[in-house]
């Protein structure tokens, strides 16, 4: 039973991280129908910025939760700035181009960012400082769930709720939904499309950075390549849940996390990704638009 619970919470943690990254994918996709391949790189840059900020700040004598929050904040700000800039450079000029051009631009951007961090920093694994101590109240269950895992799950929950509220009730959120539905109509009604798209990239990148900081804190090491795999997995999660749907991204992330966790625990760790992608193919055969995605009929 303990083993099962351990796998369950392990999957929950993993799924939460996928969900945080998948939210960025799904929001960007919902608005400009682009698979933002550079999104995984944003997550990696978030993790690196947090590591650098934490190291620099700890020299100033900061530690404990203040360090985590400050380093996390810096990471979020920087990732958001990167997301904003990438959109302006690589995607905005391509808004009227054929559909595959921005995708190639995104792949190019992803290669560029990976090598930028590789050259400016290092190709080795860097150890990430432990920013949170084990919570005292988690002592009795620490063999099942670590404190950093609790932190990840709780943060994801808060972020998702806040994001849902933001999109549902705020003016910008409404503008985002309108843009996703019909860009031309939104423009006619006086919505500043460029601003909405920028905000989407900023929020998505910020969420990815939160994911990056939390998972690095949990695992304890990072390198320039972490964004690539995480990005692909998160995209899988977004599609699994139905791309463009925010609850779908969270659900997809969790399902993916659990699948991987249980497959690793009960079957074999070698085939973890095979199970993840196998599940994706399986679900899409029966629900071609993802679990929560609405399948659209073509109007002729």
């Amino acid at each position: 039973m303990d083993y099962f619970l351990e796998l369950f919470f392990g999957g929950l943690t993993r799924g939460s991280i996928y969900a945080l990254i998948a939210l960025g994918y799904t929001m960007v996709y919902g608005i400009i129908e682009l698979i933002n391949f550079a999104h995984g790189e944003i997550y990696m840059i978030g993790a690196f910025t947090a590591l650098i900020a934490a190291s620099a700040l700890s020299l100033l004598g900061l530690n404990g939760p203040a360090l985590l929050i400050l380093a996390g904040l810096i990471a979020v700000i920087y990732s958001a700035a990167y997301g904003y800039t990438i959109e302006k450079i690589a995607y905005k000029p391509l808004r009227k181009a054929q559909r595959l051009s921005p995708l190639i631009s995104a792949i190019g951007m992803s290669i560029f960012l990976q090598n930028y961090v590789l050259l400016a920093q290092t190709s080795d694994f860097l150890s990430f400082p432990t920013l949170v101590d084990e919570f005292a109240f988690m002592e009795p269950v620490s063999h099942i769930m670590r404190s950093s895992e609790l932190l990840i799950v709780a943060t994801t929950l808060v972020c998702t709720v806040l994001l849902t509220l933001f999109i549902k009730f705020s003016r910008t959120g409404k503008a985002m939904r309108a843009t996703a539905q019909d860009k031309t109509m939104a423009m006619l009604l006086g919505i500043n499309i460029n601003r909405v798209i920028s905000v989407t990239f900023i929020i998505g990148s910020g969420l990815a950075a939160i994911g990056g900081v939390l998972i690095s804190n949990h695992i304890g090491q990072i390198n320039f390549y972490i964004g690539f795999i995480a990005g692909i997995k998160a995209f899988t999660a977004a599609v699994l849940g139905g791309i463009g749907s925010i609850p779908g991204a969270v659900l997809g992330g969790l399902i993916l996390g659990w699948t991987e966790s249980f497959a690793t625990g009960y079957v074999s760790s070698d085939y973890e990704d095979v199970f993840a992608f196998g599940l994706l193919v399986f679900i899409l055969i029966f629900r071609p638009a993802g679990i929560l995605g609405r399948s659209s009929t073509d109007k002729v």
Binding site: F48, A53, T85, A97, I104, S105, F112, N115, F277, P288
Partner: protein, 423 residues
């Protein structure tokens, strides 16, 4: 006088201010990652302020260039003239036999003489470039013609390579019988992938094909009994040449000609396919699925043939790859490879054969000749991909749309068109 100059000055000042702001923004953006270098072992930090200065200095002029190019692209006043100029030259090259004939002959002589003119190393590079031309042309069938976004194309490449390697390892099968077998197996896998994804569209298709590619790679990596795992298969025999005992250099030349002939064959087939019944069905499917079905085109069969025929070329190239390196392991078949092949197709200009050739040459030869920049080459590579797309979103070579004109000369062709359509 001042009234005339002042708008100019004002504009110049605003441009400079804009560039200054951009340069400050990039200095802010790159600050933590460029300047602060953490040494995790000694827990110390190196501050590299000079890098920040360099970024500021480099971004300032670049931002002028960027804005100038953007403005030119948007207003397109100068570009329109240029486009028509390019088009004129292109048309002239294509249609005027007096020019295109000698040019083609010159190209043919150069291509044939290449391995004798340059070193074995250069020939090796050219072989891989030509291999990517074939991969690009194969993927072009799926993505460019049929409009199915395939991000797992490398899986078929792996199938081809492993079929030759395994058949050679276990049964001692040579290159020549393995070539059609590998291609055939790849086609079978193409159909296997095609079936479950028939109902999917657009980007759902993209992620499933990506997953399929990863599954194949992971199975090859982990199923030790079958594929020898990550250590791969070594000692694959080189192509047989009438029993002659060739030296390594001669083998390279021989392989070069094999690939050259295969590329020629591919171009021939793809060109014929594009204008065939099935080729036009692909294009129709890409343009509008519903209308296509209403016209009586079998969607299932059309999509499956696209997958199968696209995969076939990857199978061919896989066999050649195994024969070229004589050693394969799953690390050669990562997603990055699929991304590069897709980039060849889109970067060169979707749907155009010359475009794919140019794309492959740019993307494969660029990193090779950028070796002078050694560690910066992938950085430059990624940046060039972004820049080419931003400034030429339609690809380097724009695909030539087929026009059917009414007129006496074309009437025979028109007749043929109608026959094919009604058949």
């Amino acid at each position: 006088m001042t009234a005339q100059i002042s708008p100019f000055i004002r504009r110049a000042v605003s441009e400079v201010v804009q560039s200054l702001l951009v340069s400050c923004w990039f200095m802010f953006l790159t600050f933590p990652i460029m300047v602060i270098k953490v040494n995790p072992l000694e827990r110390t930090i190196d501050w590299q302020w000079m890098r920040l200065v360099w970024i500021g200095v480099a971004v300032f002029p670049l931002s002028f260039v960027w804005r100038y190019l953007m403005r030119r692209k948007e207003h397109g006043g100068a570009q329109d003239g240029e486009e028509s100029w390019q088009k004129r030259v292109g048309d002239r090259l294509r249609t005027d036999r007096k020019i295109s004939g000698p040019l083609l002959a010159l190209l043919a002589v150069f291509v044939v003489a290449f391995p004798f003119m340059f070193s074995s190393y250069q020939t090796q590079i050219m072989i891989s470039a030509l291999m990517y031309v074939m991969l690009g042309l194969g993927l072009n069938i799926v993505v460019g013609l049929a409009g199915l976004l395939d991000l797992g194309y490398v899986a078929f490449y792996a199938v081809g390579a492993y079929s030759y390697a395994l058949l050679n390892h276990h049964f001692g099968l040579g290159f020549w019988p393995a070539l059609p077998l590998g291609a055939g197996l790849a086609a079978v896998f193409g159909i296997l992938l095609g079936f479950p994804v028939l109902r999917l569209r657009g980007d759902y298709l993209a992620i499933v094909t990506l997953g399929f590619g990863e599954i194949i790679r992971l199975v090859l990596e982990n199923w030790n009994a079958f594929s020898f795992g990550p250590s791969g298969i070594a000692g694959i025999s080189r192509p047989w040449f009438f029993g002659a005992d060739l030296s390594l250099g001669q083998h390279t030349v021989f392989l070069y000609f094999i690939v050259l002939i295969l590329v020629g064959f591919t171009i021939l087939v793809v060109n014929r396919l594009r204008n065939s019944r099935i080729g036009r069905a692909w294009i129709a499917l890409r343009e509008d699925e519903v209308a296509c079905q209403a016209m009586g085109i079998d969607k299932t069969r059309t999509k499956l043939t696209a997958f199968a025929l696209g995969a076939t070329w990857a199978g061919f190239v896989g066999c050649v790859f195994a024969a070229k390196t004589t050693f394969i392991n799953p690390a050669s078949f990562t997603f990055m490879e699929s991304a590069i092949i897709l980039s060849i197709v889109v970067l060169g200009g979707m749907g155009s054969i010359i475009g794919v050739i140019v794309g492959a040459m740019v993307l494969i030869l660029l990193p090779e000749y950028l070796r002078a920049f050694s560690e910066y080459r992938m950085l430059v590579f990624g940046a060039s991909m972004v820049l080419i797309m931003v400034f030429r979103p339609q690809g380097i070579i724009t695909g030539v749309k087929q026009h059917y004109r009414f007129g006496q000369k074309e009437s025979a062709q028109e007749q043929g068109e109608r026959d094919a359509a009604s058949a």
